[in-house]
Symmetry: C2
Subunit: 166 residues, 2 copies
Amino acid sequence: MILDSETKAVELPEDHGDEIRLWLRLLTCTTLIEGEVRGRLRERFDVTLPRFDLMAQLDKVPDGMTLSDVSKRMMVSNGNVTGLVERLVESGHLDRRTSDTDRRVQVIRLTKAGRAEFRRMAAEHQTWIADIFSDLSPKDVRELMRLLAKTKGSAQKSAQKRALQA
Amino acid sequence: MILDSETKAVELPEDHGDEIRLWLRLLTCTTLIEGEVRGRLRERFDVTLPRFDLMAQLDKVPDGMTLSDVSKRMMVSNGNVTGLVERLVESGHLDRRTSDTDRRVQVIRLTKAGRAEFRRMAAEHQTWIADIFSDLSPKDVRELMRLLAKTKGSAQKSAQKRALQA
DNA sequence: GCCAATTACTTGAACCCTAAAGAAATCTGG
DNA sequence: CCAGATTTCTTTAGGGTTCAAGTAATTGGC
C-alpha cells in the first residue's frame, strides 16, 4: 500500500501472473481429464458424467440422501439436481420417495439395478483414472494431494470472505 | 498379470484409490474456484465465464483467430463456439468476417469496445485469482505448476492412446 | 394456536455444451 | 479438369447448468 500526493490509499497494480498461470493450468488439467472421462463413459456405457457422479454419491449411502444433500455434495444448484434425478428415476436407476417425517423432503436412493450398473461402471472408471495419472509417482500423488488440499482451503477462505461482504 | 488354474490371463483388481481421491480433489478445487470466478464475473460485470474466456483468447491476438482456433484453445466443440460468438457479436464485443483467402473460414477479433471491456474485467479478475490462491507460498505455486504439468502430460498420453485405438 | 421466517424443492428463461449430421469451400490425385 | 476426400463452420436434438421466482411444508417466537 502506498500513499499518493493527496495522501489517499492507492493500490499499485501488482504482478499476479504466476497465480493466473497456475489457475489456467489447473483448469486445463481438469477440462482435459473430464473430457476424457466423459467420452469414455459415453462410449462404454452411454451415460453422462453428471449422472455417473450422482450415482457415485448415492452408492456411498445405503439409505439414500435428500436432494439438498446431493446438491451440496455435488456443488451444483438445487434445480439442477431436480432435473437430473427426474431422468434417472425415469430410467430406473433411482428410487425416489417423500420423507415420512418432513413432506418437503425427497429421499433418493439407487435401485438394485442402478447400484449394479454403477458398480460395473465404477470398476472400469477406476482403471481409466489410474491410467490417466499413471506418469505420476506415488510421491507425486501425495504431494499433489497436499498442495490441492491447501489450495482448496485457500479458495474456501476467499469464497467465505466474499460471501460475508454480500 | 496372473495365470489362473486354466492358464488364462487374469487381471487382479488393483487398488487405485489414491488416484481416484486425487482426481476428486482436483475436480473439487476446480469446481470451487470456477464457481467463485463465475459468481464474481456475473456480479461485477454481468458476464458469463465462457464469454470471458473467449475474450481472453482473443485479447492475446490483435489480428483475430478462426473459430477452429478458438475451439481448440478453449477445448470446446465447434458448435459451441458458433453460438458463443454469435452472442458476443450481437452485444458488440466481437467483430466477425469471412476470410479473404478461404471462404469457409470465419475470423473473429475483439472490437475496440470489446477489448476495453475485457481489459477492465481482466484487471479485477487477476486480483480475485491472486486472493483465491493467497495461502500458497511462491514455492507451493512452483511445485503445483510442475506437478500439474506432469499430470497434463500423463493425461494427454492416455487420451492419445485411446484415440488411436478407436 | 397463529403468523412470520425459513427450508426444500420445482419451475421457467436463458445460456452452455456435446455429438452427429449436413452444407459449403477447398484440396488432391489422377 | 474433376470426383472424392477433407476441412470449416452451422444446425439440430438432447442434456446440463445457473439464477430467480414461486410453492408447499415446517419451525419458532409470541
